[in-house]
């Protein structure tokens, strides 16, 4: 394969096992990824020093490049936790294969996705999604069934549910950002700071620009008088804290127990 002579990285069993496990998990938080990395070293190369995670992943990605796959890093939109997922970069005819989701289930996701993208807050209410079941392609789906399908999406980390409303999981954003930007170019919102897709965030009440919560946190860090980067008007929202991995681990906060940080501040 043309890429093989240019391949920079070296794959050992440590890297392979890491890749296998990451593939199985789908998406992992950074501290889990670090644990996974240490586990793979322990099992397959006990004597080696553990590479810095960034180098480790870059090494693997340089090998994956020729296969149009990548380990992608992103941050969760609500509290800036770094996450990793194995993402496919190219089109293939795999889409021709049957998937385990029925046509009407996929259409339900698409409807939810559109509602989420069109919404001001990045959340679509369960009610609004369920009201669209009559419009779904494929076999007729009852609302009760649709509720279960939505839960399936949550379990598989495509959607997040908070108080009866749904938004995109960080994994879905990592996987589908490009697709979303191309398919809904008018409706998508973009963060003024990092310029990537924005589903949840804060917006300036004067000029309307939007920023991710973690981007707000970083941009306004230790700034007593936060002002909009675009129109310089006073930034009216609460500035969240920058994500600190050490602090979070000590506090042992679990995702489900955390108070909803969703910002309804648009």
């Amino acid at each position: 394969m043309q890429g093989s002579t240019r391949r920079m990285g070296v794959m050992t069993d440590v890297h392979r096992r890491f890749l296998q496990l990451l593939m199985t998990h789908g998406v992992l938080e950074e501290w889990d990824v670090k644990r996974l990395q240490r586990h793979c070293y322990k099992v397959h190369d006990r004597n080696a020093t553990v590479d810095k995670l960034e180098d480790f992943i870059n090494n693997i990605n340089s090998v994956l490049e020729s296969l149009y796959i990548e380990i992608k890093r992103g941050v969760t939109e609500d509290d800036g936790r770094p996450i990793y997922a194995l993402v496919n970069l190219a089109t293939t005819s795999i889409s021709k294969m049957a998937t385990d989701f029925a046509e009407n289930e996929l259409d339900l996701f698409r409807k939810a996705l559109e509602l989420i993208i069109d919404s001001e807050t990045g959340f679509a209410s369960s009610t609004n999604i369920l009201n669209l079941v009559d419009q779904l392609k494929g076999k007729k789906m009852r609302k009760k069934e649709a509720e279960q399908v939505l839960q399936k999406f949550v379990q598989n980390k495509w959607l997040i549910e908070k108080e009866g409303e749904f938004t995109l999981h960080g994994r879905a954003i990592l996987e589908m950002e490009q697709y979303i930007r191309e398919t809904y170019p008018d409706a998508v919102k973009i963060c003024n700071i990092c310029h990537s897709l924005l589903i949840q965030g804060q917006s300036c009440e004067t000029c309307g620009i939007r920023m991710h919560l973690p981007c707000v946190a970083k941009y306004f860090q230790s700034n007593a008088e936060p002002r909009c980067p675009h129109c310089n008007d006073y930034w009216p929202h609460e500035i969240p804290e920058v994500f600190d991995p050490e602090k979070q681990r000590e506090a042992g906060i679990s995702k489900s127990n955390k108070k909803s940080l969703r910002s309804r501040q648009h």
Partner: protein, 347 residues
């Protein structure tokens, strides 16, 4: 999966009007991404299915016009990505630049390379689904190539899977050309018991070890039977594979040191409980048992956070123990060699 033509056309129209680019370019949509599916089977190629319904599908034929248009589209994508790069955000930069690099490679990708990586993705999908891989299905649905090139391409695919993912492509049926992917890096559970007669019992033993582990490392006999009953194993009823289960779990496995069977302290009338036997601790680990459990439930070990934590701690403790043991052995060896040396230098 057939997609409504109307919705495809509508989507295409919408995009064309928005972008004001000629139709053929949008047809290629080489930048529409297909997601590789993960963990539980119900997420199989989920995002790919989502994306394929509104974007026109690419065929696996890379020749001629498609390649030309994909070049142009990806060039557009590259410039789009570059223009959006921000200095502030470092986390997104790396993935974007590698995506741009991948897009560039689109232009120089050979037809053979394309078949190879399509098949790699397909086989990874089959591996996740734990499904057999059938040559006829590959040739019919995934890549259309002349049969005489198939083995060469499959060999390259197999090399990639082995080199990058540590997966071995095994031919299970040479006549019908049916294959299966196995994990080279994790020995099968059956490797523990080489005796053919006892191979089915590994599954039973792992299940019981799992029940014990997930019940705080000690399970009552009632708890064990609850699980075995679901599997169709009942006390006193002879099973056509396993035989009489009570005998196996309370006598055979105990005698072989895989399980400990003891009376629950102060129980009257006497009740019994199971713990891992010393041989179980040696031949397997909590993590392996959790992985086994996860597989049965079609999920992953980290889906059970408490047990996963415990299993990880167990791994670390074992690693520490191994290091300590090795250090001890080294120390003893050093001491011995010192002793020998001193004896020689002081005749």
């Amino acid at each position: 999966m057939p997609r409504g033509q109307k919705s495809k056309l509508r989507a295409r129209e919408k995009r064309r009007q928005a972008r004001e680019e000629p139709e053929p370019l949008m047809d290629a949509q080489a930048t529409a991404r297909v997601g590789i599916e993960f963990s539980s089977s119900s997420s199989a190629h989920f995002s790919s299915a989502i994306q394929s319904s509104t974007a026109p599908k690419t065929t696996s034929n890379p020749h001629g016009p498609q390649r030309a248009t994909s070049t142009t589209t990806t060039a557009a994508a590259v410039s789009y990505l570059r223009s959006n790069e921000s200095i502030n955000n470092q986390t997104e930069e790396r993935p974007r630049s590698s995506q741009a690099l991948a897009a560039n490679e689109h232009m120089t990708r050979s037809p053979v390379d394309e078949k190879v990586f399509i098949l790699v993705h397909y086989l990874l999908y089959k591996y996740q689904m734990k499904e057999l891989i059938i040559k006829a299905a590959m040739l019919r649905d995934i890549v259309q190539i002349p049969r005489r090139y198939f083995s060469e391409i499959l060999r390259k695919v197999s090399d990639h899977l082995e080199m990058v993912f540590g997966l071995d492509l095994k031919e299970v049926d040479p006549d019908r050309h049916i294959y299966f992917l196995i994990n080279k890096l994790v020995p099968t559970y059956d490797a523990k018991l080489s005796d053919d007669r006892r191979v089915p019992r590994t599954g039973l033993l792992m299940t019981i070890l799992g029940v014990i582990f997930t019940n705080g490392n000690c399970a009552t006999e009632e708890q064990i039977w609850q699980v075995l009953n679901v599997m169709g194993l009942y006390e006193g009823r002879r099973h056509f594979i396993f035989g009489e289960p009570k005998k196996i779990i309370t006598q055979d496995f105990v005698r072989e040191n895989y399980l400990q069977y003891q009376q629950v302290p102060n129980s009257d009338p006497p009740r019994y409980q199971f713990l891992w036997g010393p041989r179980a601790h040696v031949e397997t680990t909590k993590m392996k048992v959790l992985e086994f459990l996860a597989k049965i439930h079609d999920t992953v070990p980290s889906a059970f956070p408490t047990w996963y934590e415990e299993a990880l701690k167990d791994e670390e403790e074992r690693a520490q123990a191994r290091l300590a043991a090795r250090a001890r052995i080294k120390a003893v060896a050093n001491a011995r060699s010192q002793a020998i040396l001193s004896r020689f230098s002081h005749p």
